[in-house]
Symmetry: C2
Subunit: 262 residues, 2 copies
């Protein structure tokens, strides 16, 4: 992973599987990813070995090198897969809400995020846990930041954009109280000029609140999934709702408890 590498890998749902060969190949990719995911869930990251996957497929391990340059490339592709699934899931949950109910969409998105994380702890850990060297770790960043050629990075950006869009939409429909520009410490203020899509549409104070909210949400869900909350809470759901309510207050929107459909 020290050399510049190619991250060629197929987006899961390719539009037009041209030749037969290509269809078979795409199916193989799907099978590899799927078995890898299953191993991740049952055995942990260490269990995701090329040999185990090959065994499960009735192949030998070196054959997998026809599909992935290395184990790390497979793990990165799995990152992308999870990010995309998570993004699709959240987006779908949002789209089920009324178009103009941004507050509702924000709450639904947050809950969907927590829900997915709980139901897919291994996958969540893969995405948001300790950086995996060569896969999604600091060594995979370019000097400019994200590496758009890395599928994990690309999918991660897409994920972040969902929340950012919601935040921007909320600001536009009903601005909430934010720290004024001259109330933000200059050293902080000067860093808030992100060139993230959408970010330029809201003032720096709102971006600060976005960051703050995301850090809390991340901290909460991460501690929960990692078991770092077990000493305090048996069921973290009520605390999550409490935190969500706090966030709503900060954003000047009305908190609404979750509609429980089983």
């Amino acid at each position: 992973m020290t050399e510049a590498q190619v991250w060629a890998a197929p987006g899961e749902g390719s539009p037009e599987p041209a030749s037969r060969r290509e269809r078979v190949r795409a199916a193989a990719y799907d099978e590899i990813r799927s078995i890898g995911r299953q191993l991740l869930a049952t055995e942990g990251l260490g269990g995701v070995s090329l040999r185990a996957i090959a065994r499960e497929m009735g192949m030998t391990a070196p054959a997998l090198y026809r599909y992935y340059e290395s184990r790390e490339h497979l793990l990165a592709d799995m990152c992308a897969m999870f990010f995309n699934e998570l993004s699709d899931m959240i987006q779908a949950a949002c789209d089920a809400e009324a178009d103009d109910d941004i507050a509702g969409r924000l709450m639904v998105a947050s809950r969907a995020f927590r829900r997915w994380s709980h139901e897919h702890q291994a996958e969540f850990t893969h995405l948001f846990g300790s950086p995996i060297p060569g896969v999604f770790g600091p060594d995979t960043y370019t000097p400019e930041g994200f590496d758009p050629n890395n599928p994990a990075h690309a999918a991660g950006i897409r994920f972040g954009a969902i929340f950012m869009r919601l935040f921007v939409a909320l600001w536009r429909t009903r601005p909430f109280p934010i720290p004024a520009d001259d109330q933000i410490a200059p050293a902080l203020r000067s860093q808030l000029d992100w060139n993230l899509p959408g970010a330029e549409e809201i003032p720096p104070g709102a971006r600060l609140l976005f960051l703050s909210a995301w850090v809390s949400l991340y901290g909460l869900v991460t501690m929960d999934v990692f078991g770092h909350l077990g000493w305090a809470l048996k069921d973290s759901a009520p605390f999550f709702e409490y935190e969500l309510e706090q966030l709503c207050t900060k954003l000047g929107i009305a908190y609404a408890p979750p509609t429980e459909e089983l």
Copy 2:
């Protein structure tokens, strides 16, 4: 790690090294831990192999089984080592402040936590990152929660108690606004009866605030160390101070910028 196991390992600074044998043995433990730590920092968790440690010590790998039952036991002991170092560090920073300046101690402790985490990213990741199966993961918890026999758990409890003590002290000197008992959702309220030392001295609403504050601090430092903040901030220190200021506001204490001594 599926069987009940003994976590025998020496606390680093044993008081009275009785026999010569014991002193040599204690020195060996220190060397193992120290080389393990170095490998963790330079090569990552995967680089902490018994063979590499033994190589560095001029021994063969199986010899290390005289000291640790398995690699997992070594990693757990390293957890304890890091927790203790972190706790000592924070405690020392606190003790440098005036006895009655609880607000100052709280801020100093938070900054010390962030500082140590930044300066010891590998160690921080080992403690607060993805749970390591058999070491500090969900499988190491007993049905009652922490496993006091696991040195990593014991040291973790000690670490948590530092912040809890500060919080309790703050509450006693100057109570801050908290949600009233009947304003907390019953499902949440009923979970706040921790049997953590000190927790019973503050009301449930204060415990809720403690949890909330810790989640934010954890989320912030973790995202930062894991590089998940790089897209937004080049230097996270001002944002950390911003969050600290928010916390101070919630706790009704006066925020004071850090005294910069190099």
